[in-house]
C-alpha cells in the first residue's frame, strides 16, 4: 500500500508518522502510537468506542483516515486528564458509577467532553442528544447522564 507522511498533534505532542494511505486514525493511534485507550467495537462507525477528538470535535477513529488528519490536533482518552489528575468529567464518571466494563468509556468521555465544550450547561435532553452516537451495553445510560449532568450543573463530581 502506498504510504504517506502525516503530522499530527496528539495529546499536545507533535508526531510525524508514515502511514499507509488507507490506514484509519484508530489503527494509527493504537498500533503506531501505542494509544490503546480508543477501542475497536464495530469498525463501522456505529458503536462510538473509537471516538477521539480531532480539533476538538468528536470523530470516529475507525472511519477517519490518518492522512486526512494532517495538521490536526488529536485528543485521546490518554490526553484527557489535566497533568496527572483526572478531568472533572473523568472524576464524575468515577463518582457516578458511570463505568462498568469500561470498553465504551473512552469514547463516551470524549463525546461528553466535546458536548460540554459546546454546551457547558447541557440539559438532560442535550446530554442524551450529544451521546446518541455512543453505545453502552452495560450501564443503561442513566449513570452516564448523571455524571455529565454533575459537571454541567457545576455540582461537581
Amino acid at each position: 500500500m502506498i504510504g504517506a507522511t502525516v503530522t499530527l498533534t496528539v495529546n499536545g505532542r507533535d508526531r510525524i508518522i508514515a502511514v499507509p494511505v488507507d490506514e484509519t486514525l484508530l489503527v494509527t493511534l493504537r498500533e503506531r502510537l501505542g494509544l490503546t485507550g480508543a477501542k475497536l467495537g464495530c469498525n463501522q462507525g456505529v458503536c462510538g468506542a473509537c471516538t477521539v477528538l480531532v480539533d476538538g470535535r468528536p470523530v470516529r477513529g475507525c472511519l477517519a483516515l490518518s492522512i486526512n488528519c494532517e495538521g490536526a490536533a488529536i485528543t485521546t482518552i490518554e490526553g484527557l486528564g489535566e497533568g496527572r489528575s483526572l478531568s472533572l468529567l473523568q472524576q464524575a464518571f468515577v463518582a457516578a458509577g458511570a463505568v462498568q466494563c469500561g470498553f465504551c468509556t473512552s469514547g463516551m468521555l470524549l463525546a461528553a467532553t466535546a458536548l460540554l465544550a459546546e454546551k457547558p450547561a447541557a440539559s438532560v435532553e442535550e446530554i442524551r442528544a450529544g451521546l446518541a452516537g455512543n453505545i453502552c451495553r452495560c450501564t443503561g445510560y442513566r449513570k452516564i447522564i448523571d455524571a455529565v449532568l454533575a459537571v454541567a450543573t457545576g455540582r461537581g463530581p
Partner: protein, 775 residues
C-alpha cells in the same frame, strides 16, 4: 454485628475505575507479546455440508503465513458444558453458516485474512434444518449422527435432533384444570438476541520452551476456558494456564469457548504467540445468541383470582451445538411457574439442534422467555376477572418460607416489599388520573414480577496476610465489568475490619487461583462472597490464635478492631496491629497466615415428596432474588412505535454490598431487556444471518432510554449469604418484556405475544383486533 460497617453497604467506586477512565485498562485486543503472530479464521458458506477436501497450498505459499490449520489438523476431541458435541474447528462436516473451518497464523492480520481467502474447500451440501419444526420432523436430516454416543454430564433424554427433554411436575394438572373457573391459553414466540458486549471476542496464546501454554482471552471464567480448550484439544489441564485481561462486557457470550481452542492450536503449531480478535461481524456469526423460543402456556385460576394450574410447553432452538442449552431448558422450566403458588403445574420442553449459530447462556438463562408468557397471562387473567394486576399478583406470590417449583424452600423473599415499593414510586394506583397523553399517543402502565437464582457449582477463595498486615485476596472470579472485584474486596475488608485499600485482589489465574466455575448465574457475590467470608474468618481465627498466645488469653476473649488490630474484648489498650501478628507468623511461629475456603452450592432443587422431574440438568441451583418492575409506555397511534417513558424496578438483593453497583446491574439489565422487548432480533435470511452488524442489529442507544429510570434496592437478608447478600446480575432484565407488553395492552388495547414488539407488530395486532371486532 452491631459494629459500624467499614466497607460493606458503601458505594465505593469500583477498584479499576481510574484505570478505565484514563484508557489504561488493558483488554484482550490491547495485549501483545514479542514475536506475536496474528490469527484469522475461514468460515463455512454452508449451513450443513460434508467437508470433502481442503486445498491449502496457495494459502501456505503466501509470504508471511506461518500456519494453516483445517479440521484435518485436529483430533476428534469434543467439548460442551452438558453434552460433549463440539470440536475446536469443524471436522468432517459443517453445521452452520459461519462455522470456522480453517485458521491461519501470519505476520499480520491482513496477511492472515488474505491467506484465508486463498483456502479452498470442497463440500457436499446436505439438506439444512433451520427451524424447530423442521428439526423435529420424522424424516429430518440428522445434525449430529453420533448424538447417542456423545458424553453427557447428566442423564440427558436425547433423540434425533432433540438434544434434551426435561419435564417437571408438581400436583395433578388434570385435577387442577377441573378446579379452575378461568383458563387462559396462548402461544408465544421470542427471538434470538445478540449479546453485543461492546468488546468483540478474542484470545492470545503463547507456548513456553517446556511446551506449556499461557492463554489470555475475553472470558467469564478462566477455568471454563481451561476446561474447554483442554477437552477440545485433548490436552492435560496442567499444561494450560489461563489468565484474564479486563473484560469489555460479558452477558453469557464469553462463558463457554469461542476462539480460544483455535488460537491455542495455532500457537502450538507455530511455536509463536498468536493473537486473534474477531471482527464484529464474525463475533455475531460464530459466538452465540439467546435461544429463540416457542411456548404454549395455559394458566388457570379460581374466580377470586387464586391461581390453580399452569402448563408450560417450551421449545428452544439450540442451534448447531449443545453449549449451555440443556441447562437453559431446565432452568427455564424451573422458572416457568414464576414467583407464585400454583399447586398444579406441569412444565416440559425440549431443546433441538438446528443448522444455525449455537444458542447459549445470555443474562436470564431461559427465564426471560418463560416470564414473558407467564406474566402476560397473569394480566389476561386479571382482565377477565376484573382484578387489578397487582392485587392478583399479591394474592398469589410466594410468601417467605414457601417452596419454589420443585420443592426447594425459599429462605429470603422480599417480593411483597418490592411490589409495594414500585407501586408507591410509580403512582400506580393514581395512574388513571394522570394528564391525558398528547394527541396521537396512547399511554399505559404495566407490571411484571420475576425471581432469579444466584448459585450453582464450585467456588473458592484464598486470603493471605502479608508481612505488613495488609491482605491479598485471590478468588479466580473474573470481573466482567459488573464490579465483582470491588464487591469481593469489600466483603473481605469488612470481615477483617480493615479499609478497602488494605486489600489487594489477585487477577484470576488457573495456576494460582482457587477454582471458580465462573461469572455467570448471578453467582459471584453470593457464592464467591461466601468463600471470601469463609477464608477471611479462617485468617481471623489464626490471627486470634497468635494474639492469644502473645496475650496469654483465650482466642474467644479477642476481637478484631477497625483498622487492622486485634485486642482483648473490654480492654482497649490491650491490642496488636496485624503487622505484629503477621511478622510473628512469618518469622517465628506458626507460619504465614493463609485462609482458604471452598464450597459448592448443594441445597437440592427438587424435593421428591413435592415434585417429580425427568432430564433435569442440575440438582442444586441456588438461592432466590426477587424483582418487581413497573413501566410506563407511550404508543404512537399512527406508527405503532412504543416508547418507554418511565420505569421503576425494585430488586430484593438480600444486602447491597455496594448499592451503586447494584443499581448499575438493575439499570443495565432493564435496558438490555428493553432492547429484547422492543427492537432486538437476530434475523436469518435462509441459513445466513441477515443483520450481523451494529448497523443492522439495533441495540438500545441513550435516546431509547428514559432518564426516569428508578432502581430501588430491597434488602431481605439471605441467611447464608455474605452479610445477607444474594445475586443481582440477571434479574433486572427478566420482567422487562412482559411489563412492557402489559403496558402496551393498557395503552393501546392490543396483546402481543411475539418479541420484539415492533411498531409493525403493534399495528398488525391492532388490525387483527379491529377485524375480529368487526366480525
Amino acid at each position: 454485628m452491631s459494629e459500624p460497617a467499614i466497607a460493606v453497604g458503601r458505594s465505593a467506586p469500583r477498584l479499576e475505575a481510574v484505570e478505565k477512565v484514563t484508557g489504561r485498562a488493558e483488554y484482550i485486543a490491547d495485549l501483545a507479546r514479542p514475536g506475536m503472530l496474528y490469527g484469522a479464521i475461514l468460515q463455512s458458506p454452508y449451513a450443513h455440508a460434508r467437508i470433502l477436501r481442503y486445498h491449502t497450498s496457495a494459502a501456505r505459499a503466501l509470504p508471511g503465513v506461518h500456519a494453516v490449520l483445517t479440521g484435518a489438523d485436529f483430533d476428534d476431541h469434543r467439548m460442551g458444558a452438558f453434552v460433549k458435541d463440539e470440536t475446536a474447528i469443524a471436522i468432517g462436516k459443517v453445521r452452520y453458516v459461519g462455522e470456522p473451518v480453517a485458521a491461519v497464523a501470519a505476520m499480520d492480520e491482513a496477511t492472515a485474512r488474505q491467506a484465508c481467502r486463498l483456502i479452498e474447500i470442497d463440500y457436499e451440501e446436505l439438506p439444512a434444518v433451520l427451524t424447530i419444526e423442521e428439526a423435529l420432523a420424522p424424516d429430518a436430516p440428522l445434525i449430529h449422527e453420533r448424538l447417542a454416543d456423545y458424553f453427557k454430564v447428566f442423564p440427558a433424554i436425547s433423540k434425533g435432533n432433540s438434544l434434551s427433554y426435561t419435564e417437571i411436575v408438581e400436583g395433578d394438572i388434570a385435577q387442577g384444570w377441573r378446579a379452575c373457573d378461568v383458563i387462559i391459553e396462548g402461544e408465544f414466540e421470542t427471538p434470538a438476541q445478540a449479546h453485543i458486549a461492546i468488546e468483540p471476542c478474542g484470545a492470545l496464546a503463547e507456548v513456553d520452551a517446556q511446551g506449556r501454554i499461557t492463554l489470555w482471552s475475553a472470558n467469564q471464567s478462566v477455568f471454563r476456558v481451561q476446561a474447554n480448550v483442554c477437552e477440545s484439544l485433548g490436552l492435560s489441564m496442567a499444561r494450560l494456564r489461563c489468565l484474564t485481561p479486563r473484560i469489555g462486557g460479558g452477558f453469557g457470550n464469553k462463558m463457554e469457548a469461542h476462539v480460544q481452542p483455535i488460537v491455542v492450536q495455532l500457537a502450538l503449531t507455530t511455536g509463536r504467540p498468536v493473537k486473534l480478535i474477531l471482527t464484529r461481524e464474525e463475533d455475531f456469526q460464530i459466538v452465540r445468541v439467546r435461544h429463540p423460543a416457542k411456548l404454549r402456556v395455559r394458566t388457570g385460576a379460581k374466580r377470586d383470582g387464586t391461581l390453580i394450574a399452569r402448563e408450560c410447553e417450551l421449545y428452544l432452538d439450540g442451534g448447531a451445538y449443545g453449549d449451555d442449552s440443556p441447562g437453559v431448558l431446565g432452568y427455564a422450566l424451573l422458572m416457568s411457574r414464576g414467583p407464585y403458588r400454583i399447586p398444579h403445574t406441569r412444565s416440559h420442553g425440549q431443546v433441538v439442534y438446528t443448522n444455525k449459530l449455537r444458542s447459549g447462556a445470555f443474562r436470564g438463562f431461559g427465564n426471560p422467555q418463560v416470564a414473558f408468557a407467564g406474566e402476560t397471562q397473569l394480566d389476561e387473567i386479571a382482565e377477565q376477572l376484573a382484578l387489578d394486576p397487582i392485587e392478583l399478583r399479591l394474592k398469589n406470590i410466594l410468601r417467605p418460607g414457601e417452596q419454589w417449583f420443585g420443592g426447594q424452600p425459599v429462605e429470603s423473599n422480599g417480593l411483597a416489599e418490592c411490589v409495594s415499593a414500585v407501586r408507591k414510586a410509580s403512582g400506580w394506583d393514581a395512574r388513571k388520573t394522570l394528564p391525558a397523553a398528547p394527541d396521537g399517543k396512547q399511554r399505559g402502565f404495566g407490571i411484571a414480577l420475576a425471581a432469579h437464582i444466584s448459585g450453582l457449582l464450585g467456588t473458592g477463595a484464598i486470603v493471605r496476610l502479608l508481612e505488613d498486615g495488609s491482605v491479598v485476596l485471590n478468588t479466580g472470579a473474573v470481573d466482567i465489568g459488573q464490579g465483582s472485584d470491588t464487591v469481593l474486596t469489600q466483603i473481605c475488608a469488612e470481615a477483617l475490619r480493615i479499609p478497602i485499600d488494605r486489600v489487594s485482589l489477585a487477577s484470576p489465574d488457573t495456576d494460582g487461583s482457587p477454582y471458580n466455575w465462573g461469572t455467570t448465574a448471578s453467582r459471584v457475590t453470593y457464592t464467591t462472597g461466601r468463600s471470601v467470608l469463609g477464608a477471611a474468618r479462617e485468617v481471623e481465627r489464626q490471627i486470634k490464635e497468635h494474639a492469644a498466645e502473645i496475650f496469654e488469653c483465650s482466642p474467644v476473649d479477642l476481637e478484631l478492631r477497625a483498622g487492622g488490630r486485634v485486642g482483648i474484648i473490654g480492654v482497649p489498650d490491650k491490642e496488636l496491629p496485624f503487622l505484629a501478628v503477621s511478622a510473628r507468623a512469618h518469622w517465628r511461629k506458626g507460619g504465614p497466615i493463609v485462609g482458604a475456603n471452598s464450597f459448592v452450592y448443594d441445597t437440592p432443587t427438587l424435593d421428591p415428596k413435592r415434585a417429580t422431574a425427568l432430564g433435569l440438568p442440575f440438582q442444586q441451583i441456588g438461592v432466590y432474588s426477587f424483582c418487581a418492575l413497573i413501566v410506563e409506555v407511550e404508543v404512537d397511534e399512527a406508527t405503532g412505535q412504543t416508547l418507554l417513558r418511565r420505569a421503576w424496578s425494585a430488586v430484593d438483593v438480600g444486602k447491597a454490598i455496594n448499592p451503586q453497583l447494584v443499581e448499575g446491574q438493575i439499570e443495565g439489565g432493564l435496558v438490555q431487556g428493553l432492547g429484547y422487548a422492543l427492537v432486538e432480533e437476530v434475523v436469518w435470511d435462509g441459513a445466513r444471518l441477515a443483520n450481523p452488524s451494529l448497523m443492522d442489529y439495533k441495540a438500545p442507544g441513550i435516546m431509547d432510554v428514559p432518564y426516569e429510570l428508578q432502581s430501588i434496592i430491597v434488602e431481605h437478608p439471605q441467611p447464608d449469604g455474605p452479610f445477607g447478600a444474594k445475586g443481582v446480575g440477571e434479574i433486572g432484565l427478566v420482567p422487562v418484556a412482559p411489563a412492557i407488553a402489559n403496558a402496551i395492552h393498557e395503552a393501546a388495547g392490543v396483546r402481543l405475544r411475539r418479541l420484539p414488539m415492533t411498531a409493525e407488530g403493534v399495528l398488525r395486532a391492532r388490525l387483527a383486533e379491529e377485524t375480529s371486532n368487526a366480525d
